[in-house]
């Protein structure tokens, strides 16, 4: 049993947060993991990614081999596409639909969405809309995590919720509850998309 996950986005969008939350949940579930992160210059508005590998057996490489990633979780739609070479044949892409346009010549969002729709297994969610609707505009990353949660399989939703509580515990009860709400909203929307596809 293993899950190889790439988490992607732009520096400052909270990639490391959702990586840490999944990592915490995996640890609590007694699984092995390796979590490769990008620190340094790219965190200044550049493309960033984490490779998160979870398994009940030995994990050797900190990096996921190309073509073997089970899930790409992205907080930005163009950044989801950047890691397509890593995606396995049956892999899933779960991404935010809202572009982060900090470069000149950012492609038309319709081109990006149509590229994403070519992938067999994809969930595209407007995390910004959800986050502002629940009055927690900084929780877009957690909305995307919620949307990805039905596909994580190796870690349950309840263990992810516990990890969110633990991760945000120092920031106060209000922040914790908003992020739990963000997680559950993301999950609910994602499950509705799955049902509508069936």
């Amino acid at each position: 049993m293993k899950k190889d996950i790439i988490l992607s986005g732009v520096g400052g969008q909270g990639i490391l947060t959702i990586t840490s939350v999944i990592g915490l949940a995996a640890m609590k579930s007694g699984l092995r993991l390796k979590q490769s992160e990008v620190h340094g210059m790219s965190q200044r508005g550049g493309d960033v990614q984490s490779h998160l590998r979870i398994s009940d057996g030995t994990i050797f490489s900190d990096l996921i081999p190309m073509g073997e990633c089970d899930i790409i979780i992205s907080v930005e739609p163009m950044e989801a596409l950047r890691y397509i070479p890593w995606l396995s044949k049956n892999g899933w892409v779960i991404t935010n639909a809202v572009p982060f346009e900090n470069i000149s010549g950012y492609p038309p969002i319709s081109d990006i969405i149509s590229e994403l729709e070519k992938i067999d297994n994809h969930i595209i969610i407007d995390a910004g809309e959800v986050a502002s609707r629940i009055n927690s505009p900084l929780s877009g990353n957690i909305v995307v995590l919620g949307a990805a949660s039905p596909y994580l399989e190796v870690v349950s939703s309840s263990s992810l919720e516990d990890a969110i509580r633990l991760f945000f515990s120092t920031k106060g009860e209000d922040i914790v509850e908003k992020n739990i709400l963000a997680f559950n909203e993301g999950k609910r929307i994602s499950e509705a998309i799955i049902r509508s596809k069936k």
Partner: protein, 528 residues
Amino acid sequence: MNKLLLCNEAVAQAAIDAGVSGMYAYPGTPSTEIMEYFISSEEAAKKNIHRQWSSNEKTAVEAAIGMSYAGKRAMVAMKHVGLNVAADAFMNVAVTGVNGGLIVVVADDPSMHSSQNEQDSRFYARFANIPCYEPSNQQEAYDMVFDAFRLSEKYRLPVLMRLVTRLAHSRAPIKFKTDKNHQKNITLPDDPMQYILLPANARKRNKILIENYEMVRFDNRLSKFNSFEDGKERRMGVIATGVAYNYLKENISSSENSCPILKISAYPFPKDIVLGIFSRCEEVIVLEDGYPFLEESLRGLLDNGRKIYGRMDGTVPRDGELNPNIVARALGISSNNYTPVPSVVKPRPPQFCKGCSHIDMYLALNEAMRQYGNGRVFADIGCYTLGALPPYKSISSTVDMGASITMAIGAADAGLVPSVAVIGDSTFTHSGMTGLLDAVIKKSPITVIISDNSTTAMTGGQKSQATGMLDKICLGLGVEPEHMRVIAPLPKHHEENVGILREEIAYNGVSVIISRRECIQTAKRKRR
């Protein structure tokens, strides 16, 4: 206890558990988190472990040598190019030897994710005749620290631990040792001459160093990290060092007819372990994340022995970091066909944060320099290096810490007047002050802009030594008070700032302009 830690953090926790008394460092990706862990560790605070940023890597190593001289364990951490700055101290502490155990942790950056070159620190260990540990995973790095301190004390040698970006910045659950060491008491060196490198004494110490280097290779505290795994395959054997071992195992762990593998994670080692794999296999492939350090020595100058594959014959790319796919190709394993990146995807390089003070500084400088043309602004290492990119395109060089001021001096010596230097506040106290003194003494016609955001921003906002003292330092170095100006880089001051820059650039002598506004990331963190 198991705790999820970055390899950098695991190394720091290991040092705490091994009874270290002093941790020294200057921030630099990918090494920064080692000291950051020490600073935030309640355990380190409780144990009163000395843990403060140094002005640069050289002062850090020297302070660590002092801690070791007094009989206590010391660790010092830096990025690979930081060891160049510290090289004088590093090479000579090999000759003096140590008293308390001393570990120099160096994080290399193959593929240059955040660096100017991809130098391989294993050469430095070899150069200095000292042992080198090259962990392949986080737990091994944690465990090695204990052996490294003991080895260091047994042979009175400093020890280098080489990390690479992918390991330094990867997390894994770490099992902590339960038998922790206490800090040592002050004990001065037995030999009062040990640290006095007068030539006559240095020649004696050098012979001891060479002898120790030959002996240490047989010590179990080093050699236990090198291991041999036999396999059925007889044609090809694999030697893999450090993290390359992981990429190898990722590819072949499940295959039945696996090849013999020699894993190397500690240097130097006895010849026998290499002879072992060569006696079993006709050919050997060498996998290293870095330079072909081991491969080159195995081939030798004549390269007329057994067939060896690696970076030098193109089996593995000559430069750049390894990954599972590169190793698969080198092993002749057909890796998965994968889908290319869709053409709609555009590169997203790092860039200035919105509202960054460097932006306003560069916009003013570009306007002030327009009349002189391009190619006259020498910059330095930091976030402000991003001024090289459009739309600013303000700078013509970024070479090494402090080189902005000294390159401007040399260019001015050549007749390129005016020449301008752009340097950050932390880089200035790291390696810029001596250059500014040169300029003052020579009365060089240069203008130095210190873009003072009052932090070490690019590595995550560590304390900058100069904060609150920059003006005094410049005046103390002899900058004329009327040519030391302070500007506030904000859009509303743009015209005024351009005017001040124009005046000082036109001055035929040393002028310093401190462009001062706090890093917006640091300010944001403080508000939280």
